[in-house]
């Protein structure tokens, strides 16, 4: 029994890792006022590029870097449409998702079902991994796990404790006031969207080269959408995103615990999505003012308008 619980929690951490990466990216993006619904598509692009590059070169980290570069590049489309052209951000984001899913399917066609033989070794942190229970769960994980947590903490520090962070948050709250203070709102927003895209692609890379070590079309399986929901659930705070993401990671793997009890596996597979609906429902009961959503989230900024 003990083993089952430890291994379930261990897997929950692994399943939560891509959610955390994508959520952190979306938080940075949304704090600057841009809603990016393209996470799912960018994740798929990241997954396929990481897989192909790793397979060809044999270096997983090269794959990761290539995936992030691709994710950032494709996010520029959304940035251009929503910031420069001031288009509807929902439409542009949805388009990015469709583009990403379609493009990844096309590029990845020859690689479907091929196993990845290169492995990313788990890192057993000295001493810490010897702690009973916690050591196995938290301190002998793959490198993506540590990376995700480090990036989430760094993002929190960036947003709350640096000058540029204040500029990003101010841009999302009141771009006009921010601009009168001499800050380039357009640049801040571009930067945020592109960084967010890099995070999403990183999440995708984790899926294909570390989590399942294979590529199949549609393998992101709605995780991008869950990340968008988690952004709200975490109240746009990367620190809170850490436990929110791993909670959802737990929901992803709890099905393996419950299957022996005779519950239909099809129902169990729905759990993460039901839970997403549930938290969105829960959060909608909260006073919108206390949610602290960026005030100008989703609103294009027109300089000339008063």
């Amino acid at each position: 029994m003990e083993d089952i619980i430890i291994s379930t929690l261990q897997r929950a951490m692994v399943a939560g890792t891509p959610l955390l990466l994508a959520t952190t990216g979306e938080i940075i993006c949304e704090r600057s006022g841009i809603l990016n619904l393209g996470v799912e598509g960018v994740m798929a692009i990241g997954a396929v590029i990481a897989f192909i590059v790793t397979m060809i070169t044999g270096h997983p980290w090269l794959g990761v870097v290539a995936a992030m570069a691709a994710g950032m590049a494709i996010s520029v489309i959304h940035a251009f449409a929503s910031i420069t052209l001031k288009a509807n951000q929902v439409v542009s984001g949805l388009a990015l998702t469709m583009l990403g899913l379609g493009l990844s399917g096309l590029i990845g066609k020859p690689y479907v079902g091929k196993p990845l033989l290169i492995k990313m070794e788990d890192l057993n942190l000295p001493w810490l991994s010897d702690i009973p229970w916690l050591g196995k769960i938290l301190f002998s994980q793959g490198p993506f796990f540590y990376l995700a947590i480090a990036l989430a903490l760094a993002s929190w520090f960036f947003l709350e404790k640096t000058r540029l962070g204040i500029q990003v948050r101010s841009t999302g709250e009141n771009p006009k006031a921010t601009e009168t203070q001499g800050i380039n709102v357009t640049m801040v927003r571009y930067l945020s969207v592109i960084i967010g895209g890099g995070f999403s692609a990183l999440a995708g890379a984790h899926l294909s080269i570390s989590y399942s070590k294979s590529w199949i079309e549609g393998m992101t399986a709605g995780r991008g959408w869950i990340a968008i929901a988690l952004t709200i659930f975490a109240l746009w705070n990367p620190g809170r995103a850490i436990w929110a993401a791993f909670l959802f990671g737990g929901i992803f793997v709890v099905q393996y615990l419950l299957q022996p009890l005779g519950i239909s596996p099809n129902f169990l597979a729905m759990l993460p999505y039901i839970a997403t609906l549930f938290i969105l429902l829960l959060i909608s009961f909260k006073d919108p003012k206390k949610l602290n959503a960026p005030a100008m989230l989703g609103e294009p900024y027109n300089r000339g308008e008063r």
């Binding site: 640096t162 204040i166 101010s170 009141n174 006031a177 001499g182």
Partner: protein, 515 residues
């Protein structure tokens, strides 16, 4: 003490004198500033007085780098400079506190200040800024909690945050745009003492206002703008409110009535002691009472933002009335629905015609019956009778000379003047008892203005009454039988338009005289 001295020296930019020379600026061919000269020296407070639209804010936006002047130049300490954007303006030592604060409501005072301050460190910016805010609070006696969020602060405190922002960036010249319009009387006193303290420390201040009392109290010198030109300037100690008011309004009031005399008819509207709140939940109208009769136009004069919009909305049912009564021909219509009030014979030409007067994406004929679609003649059960509607629209278009190539076009394609003609045509087509017209000719060209004014007089002749809100005194004097002057939610006077006491209308609009 030593550190304070050092602090002051290191931060305040040195401007001994600043001059704006023969500045002109026009928008789309309409001049907003014409050949304006202004100069200010260290330790001086200069008032910029004028009505709305006189060009005060345009002039200051030029100084702050938001607009470029068409001609003229700006000198600091005798050297010509160019100001291309606010950042350059700040670096020259100019700071501006906008009428609508440029603050991020959900952020703390510190975060707002750190945003624009050039010396903000990259890591842990809040620690350093907290120190600075404390220093400033002491220096100018500000009393402000740097960790509070902006939305938790009063308007006066928010204004102080804006002032700190400007001072931290080294502003030697501070421009305050209508700084007292959002403050309580006590906060105004505090602001005045802060400004005096800054003056003593060598800052120069440009104080924009249309309130005479404040200008007289705070400023050393006043420059009066009227219709984009300098109407005069004077040292406050050598002038009085009356002559300033005359300069602001532009002339001794001339009576130029070419409308025919009509005897007052029966009473149409009576407003009894109404109290109404503004958008922010603060009182906007204070015990307003008046009556309006058939064949009469009552004009409400005043600087905008003194309760005109709230009064129009209260009468037409858009804004709740807290206490008091509004009656039409003896029927109580207080807090009835806008449609019910319309059906009782009250029409409304609203202030912002595009936002509230029409549905821009709908066709001309749809807009022509926006308020009458429920009438039997335009609809039967669930369906609209488009034949009749289109005929009705054609009648309006012809009668009111709306120039459009077809009634099957979307209203957003029409010019402002034509939209306004259409709205007026729609509003008067049911022969209203009362027409509430808010700034009906605002922004229209001469031809359309003339046309609309004639129609208001026509309506008066037909036995209706009109409640006219306008900032254009010429219009008020030309059209109205009686004139009410509104200031701060109260009527300063309700007088016949040929009453000689209206010579002081400028004083009344500025709140310095009540009859």
């Amino acid at each position: 003490m030593l550190s304070r001295l050092f602090f002051k020296k290191s931060i305040m930019k040195k401007i001994k004198c600043l001059e704006m020379k023969s500045i002109s600026k026009s928008f789309h061919g309409i001049p907003a500033n014409q050949d304006i000269n202004l100069s200010i020296e260290s330790g001086e407070i200069v008032g910029l007085l004028g009505e709305n639209g006189a060009g005060k804010t345009t002039l200051m936006n030029i100084l702050y780098g938001l607009y470029q002047p068409d001609s003229g130049q700006i000198n600091i300490n005798g050297n010509r400079i160019r100001i291309n954007n606010p950042v350059e303006s700040i670096s020259h030592g100019i700071g501006m506190v906008h009428q609508h604060f440029m603050l991020i409501k959900n952020h703390s005072v510190i975060e707002n200040i750190a945003l624009g301050y050039k010396g903000t460190p990259f890591f842990f910016p809040k620690m350093k800024i907290r120190e600075k805010v404390h220093l400033f609070s002491k220096k100018f006696d500000f009393r402000i909690d740097p960790d509070k969020k902006i939305w938790q602060l009063s308007a006066g405190e928010q204004q102080r945050v804006e002032i700190i922002k400007a001072l931290l960036n080294g502003a030697a010249l501070l421009i305050l745009d209508e700084p007292t319009s959002v403050l309580t009387p006590r906060e105004i006193k505090e602001l005045i003492s802060i400004l005096r303290g800054m003056k003593a420390k060598g800052h120069m201040i440009i104080f924009i206002s249309h309130k005479l009392d404040e200008i007289m109290e705070i400023c050393d010198r006043v420059i009066v703008l009227q219709k984009g030109k300098i109407a005069g300037s004077a040292d406050t100690k050598d002038t009085d409110k009356k002559s300033l008011a005359r300069m602001m309004v532009g002339r001794d009031v001339v009576f130029n009535i070419n409308k025919e005399k009509l005897a007052k008819g029966k009473k149409v509207l009576s407003v009894e002691n109404i109290n109404v709140n503004g958008d922010k939940g603060l009182p906007a109208l204070n015990n307003i009472s008046f009556e309006l009769f058939e064949n009469e136009i009552l004009g409400v004069a005043g600087v905008s933002g003194n309760g005109q919009r709230e009064l129009a909305e209260a009468i037409t049912g858009i804004r709740p009335i807290l206490s008091g009564k509004v009656k039409i021909k003896g029927r109580d219509i207080t807090n009835k629905s806008p449609r019910c009030i319309y059906d009782n014979g009250v029409s409304h030409v609203p202030e912002e015609r595009i936002r509230f007067g029409i549905a821009p994406g709908l066709f001309l004929y749809d807009n022509a019956i926006l308020k009458q679609h429920h009438l039997k003649k335009f609809s039967s059960r669930y369906f609209l009778r488009y034949n009749r509607i289109k005929n009705h629209t054609k009648t309006i278009v012809n009668k009111f000379k709306v120039s459009t190539h077809s009634i099957n076009t979307r209203v957003r394609n029409l010019s402002g003047g034509n939209i306004q003609k259409l709205i007026l045509g729609r509003e008067v087509s049911e022969q209203p008892q009362l027409l509430v017209a808010s700034h009906p000719t605002y922004g229209l060209d001469v031809g359309a203005t003339e046309f609309l004014r004639k129609h208001l007089l026509e309506l008066r002749k037909q036995g209706s009454s009109v409640l006219l809100f306008s900032e254009d005194l010429e219009e008020i004097f030309e059209l109205c039988d009686r004139i009410a002057v509104i200031f701060d939610g109260r009527f300063m006077a309700v007088l016949d338009s040929d009453d000689e006491r209206l010579c002081d209308i400028g004083l009344m609009m500025a709140g310095s005289k009540k009859i």
